[in-house]
């Protein structure tokens, strides 16, 4: 009759809890993209640059960069 080392078995629980979301979440994202035949997302550096650009342009728009009202027709 074999004995179970319960300390080791219990240590596997947090390890499993850690690995499952770490591994399954990105794998699920990849699988969904492959199944739907959607293009892969851009690399992280590009996404970061795009987010930074969007933040800058958002600040520009929020701080008065875009016209407050559309240009009306020229006055006669």
């Amino acid at each position: 009759m074999s004995t179970v080392d319960w300390s080791r078995a219990l240590a596997g629980l947090p390890l499993g809890l850690l690995l499952v979301p770490l591994l399954l979440h990105p794998l699920a994202l990849l699988t969904v993209r492959l199944v739907r035949r959607r293009p892969l997302p851009p690399p992280r550096s590009r996404r970061r640059a795009r987010a930074e650009l969007d933040a800058l342009l958002g600040e520009f728009a929020a701080r008065g960069g875009t016209p407050s009202r559309a240009q009306g027709p020229p006055a006669p």
Partner: protein, 350 residues
């Protein structure tokens, strides 16, 4: 299989799994994997946190604690820096933003949208204007003092120098806005249309109204004049451009200036404070003749940005002995001369 081998296999498997997981997370998600780094979606512009970055006021009429040259210069630098960051980000995001590589991007006749090139042109212009203006905390060198004395015959007056530089600072403020709007159009896939400033004071509200040209001001020239070396071609273009261009008769103005007496942007000269569109000395002729775009309604973004970058100053033109192009009049502003406005205008815009 002994215990050591089993442990080694387990370690290898766990390492491989963790590496695979981290790689997939890095490639497909924005989860922060390095300590101290925020997720991509929460990142703010620039390398500095949002609270530490300088506030950039993009209003056409900036809300400044003090409407002074120093305050405008500081704002122009902040806007230029923000535009430079945005252009860098657009490049890194793989948007079609050309690299200058020492030469300005060619936009005429190029296929596809040119908003990325417009942003680069705007940044180049803003850089140049900032470089040519006078830093508020700078100390004049001995050479500059001598040059000022020779030119004016008087002792160094910093306010006069700042008066000249003010036109460049205002241009940097305006062209930075154009560059940011070009990037917005680039990301949205739309075409850039100019949002004209007020002709009388580019730091007023935007020029949503149309009023007749001021009688004493320069008139906008055909953008072909930007090419100083192509005088013959310019003359041909000018002849064609003068026919039936109804936009030549009006300028864009803010509602306040259009409704009442215009309050122009005043520039300090030896003759006192005069509207910027009457000054000539050492200022880019495109500022006066186009009113920073408000007086050249037939120009598109390409025309205006190229003129900002390529048009020469009044003084430079005289030094070259050039006989074509815009802004040939030299010396102190025409307003200081009093009479002879019509003749001077003809000379300056021939």
């Amino acid at each position: 299989m002994d215990a050591s081998t089993r442990a080694g296999l387990i370690l290898a498997a766990v390492t491989a799994l963790v590496t695979l997981a981290l790689t997939l997370l890095h490639r497909f998600t924005d989860v922060p994997l390095r300590p101290g780094r925020r997720p991509t979606g929460e990142r703010t512009a620039g390398d500095q946190p949002a609270g530490e970055r300088p506030f950039v006021d993009w209003e056409s009429a900036p809300d400044l604690p003090e409407f002074s040259y120093a305050a405008l210069y500081a704002l122009a630098v902040r806007r230029r820096d923000a535009l430079a960051r945005a252009v860098r980000c657009a490049r890194e995001a793989d948007l079609p933003v050309p690299e200058p590589l020492g030469l300005l991007p060619e936009t005429r006749g190029q296929a596809g949208p040119q908003e990325g090139a417009y942003a680069v042109l705007a940044l180049a212009a803003a850089d140049e204007f900032i470089e040519e203006s006078l830093p508020p905390d700078s100390v004049p060198t001995a050479g500059q003092l001598d040059e000022f004395e020779q030119r004016t015959g008087g002792t160094y007056d910093r306010r006069l120098e700042e008066g000249i530089a003010l036109t460049d600072v205002v241009a940097a403020l305006e062209v930075s806005r154009i560059g940011m709007r070009a990037l917005i159009c680039l990301t949205e896939g739309t075409a850039l249309t100019l949002d004209r400033p007020c002709y009388f004071h580019p730091l007023h509200e935007r020029g949503t109204e149309r009023v007749p040209w001021p009688q004493d001001a320069f008139t906008a020239e055909d953008p072909g004049h930007a090419l100083v070396d192509e005088v013959d071609e310019v003359d041909e273009v000018d002849d064609e451009g003068d026919e039936g261009d109804k936009d030549d008769d009006v300028v864009a103005a803010c509602p306040a200036c259009a409704a009442g007496t215009p309050a122009p942007l005043l520039v300090r000269t030896e003759a006192g404070e005069v509207p910027y569109y009457l000054t000539e000395f050492e200022t880019k002729s495109v500022f006066q003749t186009s009113g920073y775009g408000a007086g050249a309604l037939s120009w598109d973004a390409d025309d205006l940005l190229r003129a900002f970058v390529e048009w020469h100053t009044f003084e430079t033109d005289d030094d070259r002995g050039d006989t074509g192009g815009a802004g040939r009049a030299g010396g102190v502003g025409r307003a200081s001369g009093g009479q002879g406005d019509t003749d001077d205008r003809t000379e300056a815009t021939a």
